[in-house]
Symmetry: C2
Subunit: 114 residues, 2 copies
DNA sequence: CTGTATCCCACTGGATACTG
DNA sequence: CAGTATCCAGTGGGATACAG
């Protein structure tokens, strides 16, 4: 298969990732959930700047695609726990690579300036 | 260090990545350039749906942060080649993981529907 | 606490045409 | 070919208040 074919396929795959994880907030939410299950309010605090409207919207989308799980507990007032599904856990390598790259690239920028 | 501290740091790192690679088009452009250096028009064709305005804007941003290199050649008409810098090449693991996850997750969706 | 509903504006970015 | 300029619609998403 020629190079350009490979390129198109990979562009397609990246498009798929962007469709699922794209947007302003999803990666933040997933990063937070990656550490442990969180309640709505906890997520709102973790993801600085997000409004409840956006938070619930993103959570619903992530739930719809099967990456996030929503679990309600009948307390008063109601408690809701969000967690990663098994499919959600497969994102670990992506988030891990991003984190690693960030650390590495920040370091690079620093030494460039010296 | 406690868990929540780690979470905040990682959220910060993800934020950095999003600042550099976020938006609608950058990952497409980088994916395309990852295969080989490309001319402006070639990128316009690869990244389906992008307008020249957006393409040049994203390229300038990527150039500013030192991920993409712009090289002009004095032909008539002028030729411009865009390529990844050494720093840009360090993105390979991220793109690779994304691609791999896309393939894997699409497969998962397929078998869920059966 | 966990969301919903509205109002509304800034900005992204699409379409198109044009220049060097 | 490689970009620039302009015009403008759509909408992402902020602020705020409210409901269950």
């Amino acid at each position: 298969m020629e190079n350009n074919e490979n390129c198109k396929i990979e562009l397609d795959d990246i498009g798929f990732v962007l469709k699922v994880l794209g947007g302003k907030w999803k990666l933040y939410i997933l990063t937070s959930l990656y550490f442990e299950k969180k309640r709505f309010k906890q997520l709102e605090r973790d993801v600085i700047g997000i409004s409840p409207k956006m938070l619930i919207k993103e959570l619903k989308e992530l739930e719809a695609v099967g990456i996030v799980n929503r679990h309600t507990i009948n307390t008063v007032p109601i408690t809701v726990e969000y967690s990663l599904t098994e499919n959600g856990l497969t994102l670990k390598p992506i988030l891990g690579q991003m984190k690693q790259w960030a650390v590495q690239f920040k370091q690079q920028l620093k030494s460039d300036n010296q």
